[in-house]
Symmetry: C2
Subunit: 182 residues, 2 copies
């Protein structure tokens, strides 16, 4: 239970990539983290591209950086919706400014673009949005997983094992640092 | 990479429970195991209940106990198909006789029933097939995860974190014993 005591938010909206949402959520729960799903509204059931359901626990407007240790942004078409909410882009900016871990995969990069946190950062994503990522100022690499300080990114579902290995390792580091400074 | 060097087979057929197939497969890959999907025929794409695809690497008839360290049986409706193949039930029997780890979740128990390995074993499953499990001679418990020697079982998708924590732990033990006796 390497991540016990950590509270993580995963963003959710319609047409998320089913495995890109659920693998990270279940994986962090396996390590003892509390993982909360935040959607446009609380207690709403969203469906993935294939139809796997996911119910939001809280609304985007309920998200509080002080009560959140890390953020997950799933891929699929959901990021196209999620990036339109100021509650979300403000939250992503504040999480990044606080140096808290942020994980993004596939099309999730759109949300980080709209939060304006990518200039000078090294990331990956689905090759489909490489142009958008580079136009937003990011340095783009074609690798299963890329870490730039508090930012971990991956390209697509087959990268999920590498993505979560890197993200669990970053969170373990974060937890150790937090305990040291507590 | 706790499981590097291990080769694991996951059975697959139409209408598997999407997360119950994919979470374990990706999870063991994250630990460095080679996970191979075995279907009725090789190189066939099956779809989960929600539609997530999964392509078989080998056919049931290609499975070889000597070249397999552990077996995963997914839930959903796939087990209703999978249990009908003698190649599968023979394989499950031989894996169990060899004491190799077997993981089963939800409706996967049907496959173990038809393999005849449940008399006297303590297991769980979806409550929907509890009667079938008990009629096959199993002792049934309503817990997120149950381990009986080389057999690990869980009830449903929200149990996946507990299921994989127990299965990774069993595989780590198995790998240590294998190295000790090698």
């Amino acid at each position: 239970m390497k991540l016990q005591g950590l509270r993580v938010i995963s963003l959710v909206h319609s047409d998320f990539e089913d495995l890109e949402l659920w693998y990270p959520v279940l994986r962090l729960r396996e390590e003892g983290a509390e993982v909360v799903l935040a959607g446009e509204t609380a207690a709403e059931t969203y469906h993935g591209k294939y139809g796997v359901p996911a119910r939001s626990d809280i609304a985007f407007s309920d998200m509080d950086v002080a009560r959140c240790d890390a953020l997950l942004v799933p891929g699929g078409w959901a990021p196209d919706k999620i990036r339109r909410f100021k509650d979300v882009t403000d939250f992503v900016q504040d999480m990044d400014a606080a140096g808290k871990p942020i994980g993004q995969i596939c099309h999730a990069g759109w949300v980080l673009i709209s939060a304006g946190i990518l200039p000078g950062r090294t990331v990956t994503s689905t090759p489909g949005i490489r142009d958008d990522m580079e136009n937003a100022g990011a340095i783009w690499e074609d690798l299963p997983v890329v870490r730039d300080r508090n930012l971990v990114s991956s390209r697509r579902p087959p990268d999920l094992p590498a993505y979560m290995a890197a993200f669990v390792s970053l969170l373990t580091e974060y937890r150790t640092n937090r305990e040291r400074t507590a």
